[in-house]
Subunit: 370 residues, 2 copies
Amino acid sequence: MTSAVRRNPSGARDGREPAGSRDDGGAGPAGGHEAAAVLEGSRAAVDPELRSAIDSLPGSLRRVALHHFGWEHADGTPAAGNAGKAIRPALVLAAAAALGGPAARAVAVRAAAAVELVHNFTLLHDDVMDRDTTRRHRPTAWTVFGDADAILAGDALQALALGMLAADPHPASAAAAARVAACVVELCAGQQADTAMERRGPTEITLEEVLAMAEAKTGALLGCACAVGALYAGATEADVDALDAFGREAGLAFQLIDDVIGIWGDPRQTGKPAGADLAARKKSLPVVAALTSGTPAAAELAELYAAPYRPADLDRTTLAVERAGGRAWAQEQAADRMSRALHELTRAVPDPEAAGGLLSLAEFVTRRNA
Amino acid sequence: MTSAVRRNPSGARDGREPAGSRDDGGAGPAGGHEAAAVLEGSRAAVDPELRSAIDSLPGSLRRVALHHFGWEHADGTPAAGNAGKAIRPALVLAAAAALGGPAARAVAVRAAAAVELVHNFTLLHDDVMDRDTTRRHRPTAWTVFGDADAILAGDALQALALGMLAADPHPASAAAAARVAACVVELCAGQQADTAMERRGPTEITLEEVLAMAEAKTGALLGCACAVGALYAGATEADVDALDAFGREAGLAFQLIDDVIGIWGDPRQTGKPAGADLAARKKSLPVVAALTSGTPAAAELAELYAAPYRPADLDRTTLAVERAGGRAWAQEQAADRMSRALHELTRAVPDPEAAGGLLSLAEFVTRRNA
């Protein structure tokens, strides 16, 4: 059920916490069920292609990839598999279906797998750079296999992805490969901006910078996934671009809400300790919005962020972000981005029935609780 | 002048030191001049394409790439450029010319630039993994910009390379992209094997393993470069495969000779201190051949390699590799590989005139002194 979003094309979301709980406002569970079915159908179609691509790797690299995707334990024994929600391949297939029906969806499966490989290549490398030790509730590849193997497995996944597209006989495959390659450059620039910002003081960062970073790091690949689906449906250039814009805007909405959850989310639902983002002094979107608000609360927040984290200050810090307008700004921005996303989608796919899969996914990513 | 090699198709190379000096035996200087002209002509054609690809990168990544290619100093001021010998793009163009004449060479320039981008992406990443601090007489990217930027610039160069091929309207571009992507996977497996061997004892490594590693790490991309050139000339599958085999075998010959130089090369010509490879306990091809020879000298070498390096032991170590047959084996292997390379080349390009560029390059890489 996507009516909650479609009902409010202006972007107003009734002041509801967009992601605090799956069953807020009544629309969540139904929308969640719909999206769950879309994701499950996509996984059933894409997983065999993904698995066969990874199985084609030489043993040493295959081992790292199988562990990363959750198909093998570190010791090489089979695992149940926990490769995340796989939103991106679902977007590829939903976009293909929206613009070309089931036939387009069927021929886009390989491209969907390629997009998921690209996403996972960036995760493998980001985890090395960010020294993140946990991903999908499992130890990250570099902690298990070392930096070199994690970097090399990521390199190989990028090559697999672009090689699969190049070898795909579909007439749109070359355009899709070029688009995915351009997106990889953008993802790299986004991650570069992110790591560079880590080294700067919190008051040296503008809201434009952090929005541009989030668009490059998160929006670009969601947009690219939708655009690739549209290409495989034989869509016009204008429709391909509209689908890209839809995915980009939905991606930014997703990031804004993710950042809100990172501060105000329920630890029982996020699985992360309360205030983890603030404790880590993360320059997330609501925090930068608060810091650049010119309010007294902004000055207080800057002072708190300049000092090392003390648990006793958590409540004060959280409140400062809120009082400086960081939370309200992020929620309004998210609603505004989602509204823009829906506008772009309606332009390319006026029939709500055809757009159903994309709408469910967009609502899912902006209304989740973890 | 490539007659020195062509004169001896059996592979015997008159017992000459293949790379101790450029002007040994008289054939070197002429062959070197020929190859220098081929390399220079290739660089003149490929550099603008390469430069424009790199200029298309977002600023932060472009800066790293420009420094890596020697076009900018670390502070961003322009530099004269020292991007290595650029053998691989020269092989692409020479292979295209050998099988399709000047017209094929002209349309293969973008593919040649793509292959050079792939090579440099692997260098950027290898330097991070191997903690190498100098490349082309300049500090490596990770020492200047940090690990994250070096990894991201490498990722972006791979994307640029495969994206350029995907967007190339030439009818062979998709096949070339698929081939380059498969080669990247092989390069990654080769580097993985190399880093894994670093962690093992010198007597635990077989000659087959180290030969397979060298083929994946060095032979694969030289073979791929030749194959891509053949594809752009519209060659038959058999000829494409023959050119790949030519490049692979020449690449192995190159590596064998490189390893010989690493032990017996003249420091005044190699630019590296005498015995640097032995001091670093490198498990190079002659060393592993010596260690696995079953001779008394092999036992002596194993004992020396098991202890930390002492300059006083250098002469004894060098002599042990030689007495265990490591040097003779490597030279015979190199000659044998070169003979196989020429056999493959003759199969695809029987006209020595047409094959001239490839012959010059093959002789150059196996007869160089640094």
